[in-house]
Protein backbone atom coordinates (compact mmCIF):
# COMPACT_ATOMS: atom_id res chain seq x y z
CA UNK A 1 0.00 0.00 0.00
CA UNK A 2 1.32 3.24 -0.91
CA UNK A 3 1.35 5.72 1.88
CA UNK A 4 1.66 8.73 -0.36
CA UNK A 5 -1.45 7.73 -2.23
CA UNK A 6 -3.19 7.29 1.06
CA UNK A 7 -2.32 10.74 2.23
CA UNK A 8 -3.33 12.35 -1.04
CA UNK A 9 -6.61 10.57 -1.26
CA UNK A 10 -7.41 11.33 2.36
CA UNK A 11 -6.75 15.01 1.85
CA UNK A 12 -8.98 15.03 -1.19
CA UNK A 13 -11.78 13.20 0.45
CA UNK A 14 -11.80 15.10 3.68
CA UNK A 15 -11.43 18.41 1.96
CA UNK A 16 -14.28 17.72 -0.38
CA UNK A 17 -16.39 16.52 2.53
CA UNK A 18 -15.67 19.62 4.51
CA UNK A 19 -16.51 21.71 1.51
CA UNK A 20 -19.74 19.84 1.05
CA UNK A 21 -20.60 20.47 4.66
CA UNK A 22 -19.79 24.15 4.83
CA UNK A 23 -20.20 25.72 1.39
CA UNK A 24 -22.83 28.37 1.14
CA UNK A 25 -24.05 27.74 -2.29
CA UNK A 26 -26.06 24.60 -2.57
CA UNK A 27 -24.92 23.55 -6.04
CA UNK A 28 -21.32 23.81 -5.10
CA UNK A 29 -21.91 21.74 -2.05
CA UNK A 30 -23.64 19.10 -4.07
CA UNK A 31 -20.79 18.89 -6.53
CA UNK A 32 -18.28 18.63 -3.70
CA UNK A 33 -20.42 15.90 -2.34
CA UNK A 34 -19.91 13.98 -5.55
CA UNK A 35 -16.20 14.62 -5.33
CA UNK A 36 -16.15 13.23 -1.83
CA UNK A 37 -17.49 9.99 -3.08
CA UNK A 38 -14.96 9.95 -5.80
CA UNK A 39 -12.28 10.14 -3.17
CA UNK A 40 -13.96 7.43 -1.21
CA UNK A 41 -14.00 5.21 -4.23
CA UNK A 42 -10.25 5.67 -4.54
CA UNK A 43 -9.95 4.61 -0.95
CA UNK A 44 -11.80 1.45 -1.73
CA UNK A 45 -9.59 0.77 -4.68
CA UNK A 46 -6.60 1.25 -2.43
CA UNK A 47 -8.04 -1.24 -0.05
CA UNK A 48 -8.52 -3.83 -2.74
CA UNK A 49 -12.32 -3.68 -2.93
CA UNK A 50 -12.49 -2.68 -6.53
CA UNK A 51 -16.01 -3.76 -7.19
CA UNK A 52 -17.40 -1.83 -4.22
CA UNK A 53 -15.44 1.24 -5.15
CA UNK A 54 -16.76 1.26 -8.69
CA UNK A 55 -20.22 0.47 -7.46
CA UNK A 56 -19.88 3.48 -5.12
CA UNK A 57 -19.05 5.68 -8.08
CA UNK A 58 -21.94 4.37 -10.10
CA UNK A 59 -24.49 4.71 -7.36
CA UNK A 60 -23.46 7.74 -5.46
CA UNK A 61 -21.95 9.95 -8.07
CA UNK A 62 -24.09 8.70 -10.86
CA UNK A 63 -27.40 8.49 -9.06
CA UNK A 64 -27.54 10.05 -5.63
CA UNK A 65 -25.59 13.19 -6.44
CA UNK A 66 -27.62 13.70 -9.60
CA UNK A 67 -30.75 13.18 -7.58
CA UNK A 68 -29.62 15.80 -5.13
CA UNK A 69 -28.86 18.23 -7.90
CA UNK A 70 -32.27 17.66 -9.41
CA UNK A 71 -33.93 18.20 -6.09
CA UNK A 72 -32.00 21.39 -5.52
CA UNK A 73 -33.10 22.61 -8.86
CA UNK A 74 -36.70 21.69 -8.14
CA UNK A 75 -36.79 23.42 -4.75
CA UNK A 76 -35.20 26.67 -5.58
CA UNK A 77 -37.86 29.24 -5.00
CA UNK A 78 -35.88 31.50 -2.80
CA UNK A 79 -32.25 31.59 -1.98
CA UNK A 80 -31.51 30.10 1.34
CA UNK A 81 -29.18 32.42 3.04
CA UNK A 82 -26.90 31.02 5.63
CA UNK A 83 -26.15 33.59 8.24
CA UNK A 84 -23.38 32.05 10.19
CA UNK A 85 -22.11 28.71 11.18
CA UNK A 86 -24.04 26.92 13.84
CA UNK A 87 -21.33 26.37 16.36
CA UNK A 88 -23.32 23.95 18.52
CA UNK A 89 -23.24 21.42 15.77
CA UNK A 90 -19.54 22.02 15.24
CA UNK A 91 -18.87 21.40 18.89
CA UNK A 92 -20.77 18.18 18.84
CA UNK A 93 -18.97 17.05 15.72
CA UNK A 94 -15.61 17.88 17.22
CA UNK A 95 -16.46 16.08 20.41
CA UNK A 96 -17.60 13.05 18.47
CA UNK A 97 -14.44 13.03 16.43
CA UNK A 98 -12.32 13.51 19.47
CA UNK A 99 -13.94 10.59 21.25
CA UNK A 100 -13.65 8.31 18.27
CA UNK A 101 -10.07 9.26 17.58
CA UNK A 102 -9.11 8.82 21.19
CA UNK A 103 -10.68 5.45 21.39
CA UNK A 104 -9.16 4.33 18.12
CA UNK A 105 -5.70 5.43 19.10
CA UNK A 106 -5.99 3.79 22.47
CA UNK A 107 -6.87 0.43 21.01
CA UNK A 108 -3.80 -1.73 20.50
CA UNK A 109 -5.36 -4.30 18.32
CA UNK A 110 -6.05 -2.07 15.40
CA UNK A 111 -2.49 -1.09 14.74
CA UNK A 112 -1.83 -3.74 12.23
CA UNK A 113 -0.35 -3.65 8.88
CA UNK A 114 -2.09 -4.93 5.85
CA UNK A 115 -0.91 -8.25 4.57
CA UNK A 116 -0.89 -9.46 1.08
CA UNK A 117 -4.00 -11.11 -0.16
CA UNK A 118 -5.34 -12.16 -3.42
CA UNK A 119 -7.78 -9.65 -4.87
CA UNK A 120 -11.38 -10.36 -4.63
CA UNK A 121 -12.95 -11.23 -7.94
CA UNK A 122 -16.41 -10.22 -9.01
CA UNK A 123 -17.11 -13.86 -9.66
CA UNK A 124 -16.49 -14.63 -6.08
CA UNK A 125 -18.78 -11.80 -4.92
CA UNK A 126 -21.50 -12.96 -7.26
CA UNK A 127 -21.10 -16.51 -6.06
CA UNK A 128 -21.36 -15.41 -2.47
CA UNK A 129 -24.43 -13.26 -3.19
CA UNK A 130 -26.23 -16.10 -4.90
CA UNK A 131 -25.48 -18.78 -2.39
CA UNK A 132 -24.75 -17.64 1.09
CA UNK A 133 -26.29 -14.20 0.95
CA UNK A 134 -29.27 -14.78 -1.25
CA UNK A 135 -31.71 -13.81 1.46
CA UNK A 136 -30.24 -10.40 2.13
CA UNK A 137 -30.13 -9.91 -1.62
CA UNK A 138 -33.79 -10.57 -2.05
CA UNK A 139 -34.72 -8.49 0.94
CA UNK A 140 -32.69 -5.59 -0.33
CA UNK A 141 -34.44 -5.95 -3.63
CA UNK A 142 -37.80 -5.83 -1.88
CA UNK A 143 -36.71 -2.83 0.14
CA UNK A 144 -35.61 -0.97 -2.92
CA UNK A 145 -38.89 -1.71 -4.62
CA UNK A 146 -40.74 -0.38 -1.64
CA UNK A 147 -38.58 2.70 -1.55
CA UNK A 148 -39.26 3.30 -5.18
CA UNK A 149 -42.97 3.01 -4.81
CA UNK A 150 -42.90 5.11 -1.68
CA UNK A 151 -40.93 7.87 -3.30
CA UNK A 152 -43.33 7.89 -6.22
CA UNK A 153 -46.31 8.08 -3.92
CA UNK A 154 -44.78 10.89 -1.94
CA UNK A 155 -44.09 12.93 -4.96
CA UNK A 156 -47.33 12.28 -6.75
CA UNK A 157 -49.55 15.25 -7.35
CA UNK A 158 -52.65 15.37 -5.23
CA UNK A 159 -55.92 14.84 -7.02
CA UNK A 160 -57.55 18.19 -7.70
Amino acid sequence: MNSAAFVLISILTLGAALAAATLRKLMHAALCFALTFGGLAMFFLLLGAEFVGLALVFIYVGAVAVLIVFTILLTRRDAVKERRVHWAGAVIAVVAFGTLAWSILRTESVSVVAHRMPSLTVGRIGEALMTGYVWPLQCTGLLLTAALIGALVLVMEEKQ
Binding site: M1, F43, L47, A55, V80, G89, A101, A114, A147
Partner: protein, 104 residues
Protein backbone atom coordinates in the same frame (compact mmCIF):
# COMPACT_ATOMS: atom_id res chain seq x y z
CA UNK B 1 4.75 5.26 6.55
CA UNK B 2 2.46 2.45 5.71
CA UNK B 3 -1.16 3.21 6.41
CA UNK B 4 -2.30 1.07 9.25
CA UNK B 5 -5.82 0.14 10.14
CA UNK B 6 -5.75 2.91 12.66
CA UNK B 7 -5.19 5.53 10.05
CA UNK B 8 -8.09 4.32 7.98
CA UNK B 9 -10.28 4.33 11.02
CA UNK B 10 -9.31 7.84 11.86
CA UNK B 11 -10.13 8.91 8.36
CA UNK B 12 -13.50 7.32 8.59
CA UNK B 13 -14.04 8.92 12.02
CA UNK B 14 -13.20 12.28 10.54
CA UNK B 15 -15.55 11.70 7.66
CA UNK B 16 -18.23 10.73 10.10
CA UNK B 17 -17.73 13.88 12.13
CA UNK B 18 -17.89 16.00 9.03
CA UNK B 19 -21.09 14.31 8.09
CA UNK B 20 -22.41 15.03 11.58
CA UNK B 21 -21.39 18.62 11.23
CA UNK B 22 -23.21 18.88 7.94
CA UNK B 23 -26.35 17.33 9.41
CA UNK B 24 -26.45 19.54 12.47
CA UNK B 25 -25.34 22.90 11.28
CA UNK B 26 -27.20 23.48 8.03
CA UNK B 27 -30.67 24.73 7.64
CA UNK B 28 -31.36 23.33 4.24
CA UNK B 29 -33.07 19.96 4.28
CA UNK B 30 -30.91 18.60 1.50
CA UNK B 31 -27.80 19.40 3.42
CA UNK B 32 -29.01 17.24 6.23
CA UNK B 33 -29.42 14.42 3.71
CA UNK B 34 -25.93 15.03 2.43
CA UNK B 35 -24.64 14.79 5.97
CA UNK B 36 -26.44 11.52 6.49
CA UNK B 37 -24.96 10.12 3.31
CA UNK B 38 -21.52 11.11 4.39
CA UNK B 39 -21.98 9.36 7.71
CA UNK B 40 -23.09 6.23 5.95
CA UNK B 41 -20.12 6.38 3.64
CA UNK B 42 -17.81 6.66 6.61
CA UNK B 43 -19.36 3.55 8.07
CA UNK B 44 -18.83 1.75 4.77
CA UNK B 45 -15.17 2.74 4.80
CA UNK B 46 -14.92 1.26 8.25
CA UNK B 47 -16.29 -2.01 7.08
CA UNK B 48 -13.96 -2.30 4.10
CA UNK B 49 -10.98 -1.29 6.21
CA UNK B 50 -11.72 -3.92 8.77
CA UNK B 51 -12.22 -6.50 5.99
CA UNK B 52 -8.89 -5.68 4.48
CA UNK B 53 -6.89 -5.72 7.65
CA UNK B 54 -8.26 -8.86 9.15
CA UNK B 55 -6.19 -12.00 9.68
CA UNK B 56 -5.91 -14.54 6.94
CA UNK B 57 -9.30 -15.51 5.78
CA UNK B 58 -10.86 -15.68 2.40
CA UNK B 59 -14.34 -14.35 2.89
CA UNK B 60 -16.03 -11.43 1.22
CA UNK B 61 -18.16 -10.56 4.21
CA UNK B 62 -17.02 -6.97 4.64
CA UNK B 63 -17.41 -6.26 0.97
CA UNK B 64 -20.86 -7.68 0.85
CA UNK B 65 -21.96 -5.70 3.87
CA UNK B 66 -20.64 -2.52 2.27
CA UNK B 67 -22.46 -3.42 -0.91
CA UNK B 68 -25.76 -3.85 0.79
CA UNK B 69 -25.20 -0.70 2.78
CA UNK B 70 -24.65 1.27 -0.38
CA UNK B 71 -27.80 -0.10 -1.93
CA UNK B 72 -29.89 0.74 1.06
CA UNK B 73 -28.34 4.16 1.39
CA UNK B 74 -29.28 4.89 -2.16
CA UNK B 75 -32.84 3.85 -1.57
CA UNK B 76 -33.05 5.94 1.56
CA UNK B 77 -31.64 8.94 -0.27
CA UNK B 78 -34.29 8.60 -2.91
CA UNK B 79 -37.08 8.46 -0.40
CA UNK B 80 -35.60 11.36 1.56
CA UNK B 81 -35.38 13.52 -1.48
CA UNK B 82 -38.92 12.65 -2.43
CA UNK B 83 -39.92 13.80 1.05
CA UNK B 84 -38.09 17.08 0.58
CA UNK B 85 -39.91 17.66 -2.68
CA UNK B 86 -43.24 16.84 -1.12
CA UNK B 87 -42.63 19.14 1.79
CA UNK B 88 -41.42 21.88 -0.53
CA UNK B 89 -44.58 21.54 -2.56
CA UNK B 90 -46.67 22.04 0.56
CA UNK B 91 -44.75 24.56 2.59
CA UNK B 92 -42.81 26.26 -0.19
CA UNK B 93 -39.65 26.12 1.87
CA UNK B 94 -36.74 23.84 2.53
CA UNK B 95 -35.67 25.59 5.64
CA UNK B 96 -36.07 23.03 8.41
CA UNK B 97 -36.35 25.73 11.00
CA UNK B 98 -39.60 26.78 9.46
CA UNK B 99 -41.02 23.29 9.52
CA UNK B 100 -42.09 23.31 13.17
CA UNK B 101 -45.75 22.39 13.00
CA UNK B 102 -45.11 19.65 15.53
CA UNK B 103 -44.01 22.14 18.08
CA UNK B 104 -45.38 21.33 21.56
Amino acid sequence: MTPTLQSFLIISAALFSIGLLAALSRRHAIFILIGIELMLAAANLNFIAFWRFRPQQESPVGVLIALFSIAIAAGEAAVGLALVIAVYRHYRTTNVDQLDQLKG
